[in-house]
Amino acid sequence: MSETETRPAEARHPAPFLRVEEAPAPRLEPVAPIALPEPRLRPRLPLTLIGATVLVVGLPALWAAGFVADQFARGAALGWFTLAIALLGLGLVGGAILRELRGLFRIATVDQLRDALASGDPARVRGAARRWARLVPEAGAVLPALDAVADPAAMLALLQAGPGAALRARADALGRNAALQAGAIIAATPSPALDGLAVGWRGLRLVRQVAALHGLRPGLLGTLALLRRTALAAAGVAATELAVNAAAHALLSNKLLQHVLGDVAGAGVAARRLVVLARAVGIACSPLAPE
């Protein structure tokens, strides 16, 4: 280290100095990692579930193989016929499992798209928009405009204003439809005990409808995963509470509906919940940040 400048100072204070380090040094990094991205915890399938799946799939397959072998021992024609039935049945089951897995993976692609859209890298944002356009036709309309801009913030603004707004409007419309139907179902249900069941069924259907709107076609497992994501996205819905309130108010101000629902306790609350649910599922299924 070489001393470049030192000045005398009062006895009670050290002399000022400015020293140059001889060894080259890299650019300074933040002393404490003040802003590392939070690691995302990816859900892992528990071993029990994997074991159960192996048993549920493997044992019937072994049983079917043994049964087919036995049938071949009885006669070739009978064996071939049994094999065809077993393959058809198992194939259909396998197809259903594949469809479930594909639905699950599609939901996972939303996370990948979110990461890419938030990367700040124009090429990655553009690529993510193209992949999203394969799922959602509405996104295809803004692709030429995206090619014309280089600023990631402008690209996100285009996506929010175009497909984002369109999908939100359509999800809201689905929520309002579901709310109307739920109100009618509750009014027509003979027992209040069945109200919850009826609204639950309509809510589940609404989840799948909004998911399909976003290009996701979840099966049973996919719907369960989507419900979990929707619960997490519910915090985001708090921010849109005002909009939801306005939508629910517009819906419930229908004179006929007021007449029908006015006497049915809880129908208004259920209707409002479905409007909120549609908004929350929309947030869970969209790679764009909620507005």
Binding site: M1, P14, P16, F17, L18, L28, P30, L36, N245
Partner: protein, 453 residues
């Protein structure tokens, strides 16, 4: 929904002012980057996050709407900081506006209500304009006498020689001629620019001569200080009065005035290095600026068009500045041990604001560029800072001297304070999306927004 929210987001306008090179652009860039990072859930601005008490605030850049003010270009300035090798953001020559929308979840019993929307408007307010406020209490004759006395001082007279020569050559009863007024104005303006750039003075009036308002210059700007009577002096006096009217109008205009809070920046460390004359001048400018904040709108102003316009726009008319933060910038050029002294010194240099205005002094590094180290000097440990110098990239260890906690006396000036090197900024995490490393900025924002959080 609370009634106030039905009228739209609450707008809070914060003026950020400081004389040239005090670090306004870096401060605004850091505020924007860190607030946006906080809104994205990153651990930026820890002191502000602590005040929020776990509430998750959402932050977005507000749309520009139809204002005539240029927007502060955050992405361009942030790109300069994250570049490799980094650059300091370019100086902004004109006033600009940084507007952010905050969705603040409510606290306590109101937590179940929808979040409250707050629009923070940070106005890059030219510090030179703040120095015009003391003019409001002066007549043309008083201002002229004070300005000429200052120009004739031994350290400034050589720089203002041309203007002083012109003034001495004017006859006692000079006619109110436009050419004479324009020539004298041009010479005075040149003298002001040279005093700022060559002598390093800050307390130069009128401020709009150094930092003009956008748009074409009105003819009443052409005046200069002149003692005595006569038609020319009468013309200059009338123009001086028109200038003061414009200053008053700007103070309450929706474009440049209407400030709710104010941040006054000062490069106190550079003033310590510049020597007793420059330090006294900077201290006088800072004192005058804070003194000017005692200015209060009269009843005639309250009953004017601006108040009516505000009410028609469904917003409350401004009740004036309620909080002032005095900020000593570049605080990372001294070690943590000395930053308390730096804030205390800044506090001493500013007058206490009028009753009802909260004020505090802070030592802030909006964009941190050093780390603290301990050096051994003659067997004694000394707190110093370490950073890479621009443009050669050499690593320096610097201890510029002891920062006093009171205005320095003659003994201090016997041992000059070292010049501050230009360090390169610490790398912002995650290409700026994680905020910008800072010192004291979160505490300053916490103070400014304390009653709103």
């Amino acid at each position: 929904m609370p009634f106030a929210d039905a009228l739209g987001p609450r707008r809070v306008r914060i003026g950020v002012t400081g004389l040239a090179r005090s670090g306004k652009t870096a401060l605004l860039t850091s505020i924007a980057a860190n607030l946006l990072a906080l809104g994205a859930g990153r651990p930026a601005l820890p002191a502000l996050a602590a005040r929020l008490g776990g509430r998750r605030v959402r932050v977005a850049t507000a749309p520009a709407a139809a204002t005539g003010l240029p927007r502060f270009d955050v992405s361009r300035h942030l790109a300069a900081l994250v570049a490799d090798p980094p650059r300091w953001p370019e100086r902004t020559e004109a006033a600009s506006l940084l507007a952010l929308d905050l969705d603040l979840p409510r606290a306590g019993l109101a937590a179940s209500l929808p979040p409250r929307r707050l629009r923070l408007e940070f106005l890059d307010y030219p510090g030179e304009w703040l120095l015009d406020l003391p003019l409001l209490a002066r007549s043309f004759a008083e201002w002229s006498a004070a300005a000429l006395r200052r120009l004739e001082a031994p350290e400034t007279a050589p720089v203002a020689r041309d203007f002083l020569g012109f003034l001495r050559g004017l006859p006692a009863a000079a006619p109110g001629d436009e050419t004479l007024a324009a020539t004298g104005h041009a010479l005075y303006r040149t003298a002001l620019h040279r005093l700022r750039d060559e002598v390093g003075l800050s307390f130069l009036q009128p401020g709009r001569f150094l930092m003009p308002a956008p748009g074409p210059e009105p003819p009443w700007m052409a005046f200069f200080p002149m003692t005595g009577g006569g038609p020319l002096a009468g013309l200059l006096r009338a123009r001086f009065d028109a200038y003061l009217q414009a200053v008053r109008r700007d103070l309450v205009s929706p474009l440049f005035g209407d400030l709710d809070r104010l941040v006054v920046l000062a490069d106190v460390l550079a003033a310590l290095h510049a020597g007793p004359a420059a330090f006294a001048d900077a201290a006088a400018a800072l004192g005058a600026a804070s003194e000017a904040l005692r200015w209060r709108r009269g009843w005639a102003d309250w009953l004017g068009w601006e108040t009516l316009e505000a009410l028609l726009a469904l917003r409350l008319p401004s009740f004036g500045i309620s909080r002032v933060a005095y900020v000593a910038t570049k605080a990372d050029h001294v070690a943590a041990r000395q930053r308390g002294n730096l804030a205390a010194l800044t506090r001493r240099l500013t007058a206490a604001p009028r009753e009802g205005v909260a004020s505090a002094a802070f030592a802030v590094a909006a964009v941190r560029c050093t780390e603290d180290v301990v050096e051994t000097l003659e067997g004694r440990p000394v707190s110093a800072v370490r950073g890479r110098r621009l443009p050669d990239g050499r690593m320096l260890r610097s201890y510029p001297g002891e920062v006093p906690d009171t205005p320095p006396d003659a003994a201090f000036w016997a041992h000059p304070f070292l010049d501050l090197p230009v360090f390169e900024p610490v790398r912002p995490p995650d290409v700026g999306r994680g905020g910008v490393p800072q010192i004291g900025l979160d505490e300053m924002l916490g103070f400014l927004l304390e009653d709103l959080l």
